[in-house]
């Protein structure tokens, strides 16, 4: 499903070039549950953004579903982001003027899901992350953990085949975190591919495979094939 070969992403800061990703190569097969770990600033979010087609690598080749990402048109990419990828951002990225329900509905609006069905699916998703009582709250009327769960509900409501989660349990207490992870397990069992970034060893342990990243390089691709 995901094939990366010699991916480089660098930021130019004045004189200096920072290699956020330094020739990264790895694969994720359909149905896998992969955890990406690594210290802060190691390039995890940068990698995730490239996987999610939100950003473009400077060098290297990235194939998504067997096709090179740079051969997709802008419109195709919008469609992929919309229907096939559920992206849970580290910074949530909810629209501040919309309430939880409307935020969760938004991707389905761009999918032209009929109103009634959209509403029902959004309500279901919010219920599953335990936000039944917060549907009409705007993001700034919710706690950090609630916003995070809202972002998770938004990603899951579209039933994407690839779920990309950047620190999905970072703001959650032990119990809620476990509930969310159980949800991921369930989705994985249904055949969805999951890539998850985490600092937490226990969380990482739940994945079938771990990819460790340090200073933009992959350290030990443990398990699975490269």
């Amino acid at each position: 499903m995901i094939q990366m070969h010699d991916i480089v992403k660098k930021y130019v800061m004045g004189e200096e070039e920072i290699y956020a990703l330094d020739h990264v190569s790895f694969q994720v097969k359909p149905g896998e549950f992969v955890a990406i770990t690594g210290p802060s600033g190691s390039g995890k979010s940068t990698l995730m953004n490239i996987i999610g087609c939100l950003d473009i690598a400077d060098e290297g080749e990235y194939r998504l579903n067997g096709q090179k990402v740079d051969s997709y048109t802008e419109r195709d990419l919008a469609r992929i982001r919309n229907r096939h990828i559920g992206f849970i951002f580290q910074g949530f990225n909810l629209l501040p003027k919309l309430d939880a329900l409307e935020n969760v509905e938004l991707p389905m609006i761009y999918q032209n899901v009929p109103h009634a069905q959209r509403r029902q699916r959004a309500e279901e998703a919010l219920e599953r992350v335990g936000l039944k009582g917060r549907m009409r709250h705007k993001p700034q009327e919710m706690s950090g953990g609630q916003q995070q769960r809202c972002a998770i509900a938004r990603a899951l409501a579209v039933k994407p085949s690839l779920i990309l989660a950047d620190e999905p349990t970072g703001n959650l207490d032990q119990k809620t975190g476990q509930e969310i992870l159980a949800l991921f397990d369930e989705l994985n069992a249904q055949g969805n591919t999951i890539v998850l970034i985490t600092h937490d060893e226990h969380v990482a342990a739940r994945a079938r495979r771990q990819i460790r990243i340090e200073d933009g390089r992959i350290m030990e691709p443990s398990g699975g094939s490269v």
Partner: protein
């Protein structure tokens, strides 16, 4: 998809009340200013034009600069009237004064000393009683003919024939009341207090004729009548053409049109500036909201909005806001003119071309500056838009 874009646009308008309000306000001010100012300029023009036209079509107005010796007398006017192109000539002595009937005083009256011919020249119709007659002239009778409003104000009725009142201590008897002209824009028609010229000359101690009306025998003979009058006065004043002025309506209207064209240009200029200021306001708000909106666009793109989704939402948003502002501005201008019309005593109407122009301009500004940043932001990679800091 369009319906979704419309819904999203309206949600966004409602969700950003302050921004929407300020944008609408910018358009409202621009549209209101230009529509109202142009209406006032045009109203001023047509109200003066209609009062000139109200004077009668074959009319010449002559004014004479009064010096110690004024050779112009009633006899000379009779002589002038003999010309074939001229139907009637009537002298005019205009003054103002307070009329008193018992405890009632009336100061608005326009006191006019003239001759019986004046009725023909101005097409005056007597509602009750009679107009001035030749014996009134010869005897300097203290009789008056009243405009309907003057009669109403003095006696509380237009059936005032036989009533008496005083001006400057002289007592007058009403012999006739004119039919109402009902034209408020000319104003003076119904407030006339008409008395024999010979009497007015004596009471108001004016000697000689300083102003008179000439009516041409027909509309075709206006030019001939003007030439005859000018020639006659030229002889009378020994070729000193500075001492008299002969106006005909056409030249008066031309002068007026020149004056009001300048006025319209000036007001139009002021209005154009307000429109521009309104436009800059819209521009400002649209551009200031760019950083917030760029993040919004980043989020929308990240969850799968295509560029076309984003552009149609922003286009509809800009269109809706500026059209709403335009229509609101138009309605407010209309209301404003309804109030202003009676105050200025003018007929104020909205010019459709100007309204279209004003709304078109505001919508253009709104759409251009609504779409321009959105278009730029929608071209960014989602991650760039998300990181945008302004």
């Amino acid at each position: 998809m369009i319906i979704q874009s419309i819904k999203m646009a309206f949600k966004s308008i409602a969700g950003n009340k302050m921004r929407s309000f300020l944008t609408v306000l910018g358009v409202v001010i621009g549209v209101m200013a230009i529509v109202m100012l142009v209406a006032v300029a045009q109203g001023a023009n047509s109200s003066v034009a209609s009062s000139i036209e109200g004077l009668g079509t074959n009319l010449l107005t002559v004014s004479v600069r009064s010096t110690r010796y004024n050779p112009l007398s009633m006899e000379k006017l009779d002589e002038l009237q003999q010309d074939a192109s001229i139907a009637y000539v009537a002298p005019m002595l205009t003054t103002s004064g307070t009329a008193k009937a018992g405890v009632t005083t009336y100061t608005e009256g326009s006191i006019q000393g003239t001759t019986p011919e004046y009725a023909q020249i101005r097409n005056l119709t007597v509602a009750t009683g009679r107009f001035l007659s030749q014996p009134d002239m010869d005897n300097r009778s203290k009789v008056v003919v009243l405009g309907s409003e003057a009669a109403q104000e003095l006696f509380g009725t237009t059936r005032a024939v036989g009533e008496t009142f005083t001006i400057s201590g002289y007592t007058f008897t009403v012999v006739g009341v004119l039919e109402s002209e009902g034209d408020s824009s000319t104003g003076s028609g119904d407030t006339q207090i008409i008395l024999p010229f010979t009497l007015a000359e004596r009471i108001f101690s004016q000697k000689g004729i300083t102003s008179f009306y000439v009516s041409a025998a027909s509309a075709d003979e206006v030019t001939a009548a003007q030439t005859a009058t000018t020639d006659y006065l030229d002889v009378l004043f020994d070729g000193d053409s500075d001492r008299y002025n002969v106006f005909n309506q056409t030249s008066m209207l031309e002068t007026l049109n020149e004056a009001t064209a300048t006025l319209t240009m000036m007001l139009g200029g002021i209005a154009a500036i307000s429109l521009l200021v309104g436009g800059i306001g819209i521009m400002n708000i649209m551009l200031v909201s760019v950083s917030e909106r760029t993040r919004e666009i980043g989020i929308r793109k990240a969850i799968g909005a295509a560029r076309s989704n984003i552009l149609s939402q922003f286009l509809i948003e800009a269109l809706a806001v500026s059209l709403l502002g335009g229509l609101l501005g138009l309605v407010l201008a209309w209301g404003g003119l309804l109030i202003l019309g009676p105050v200025l005593d003018m007929t104020l109407t909205i010019s459709p071309q100007i309204a279209l122009l004003a709304i078109g301009f505001s919508v253009f500004i709104g759409v251009v500056f609504g779409i321009y940043p959105a278009n730029k932001a929608s071209k960014l990679r989602p991650i760039e838009a998300l990181r945008y800091e302004g």
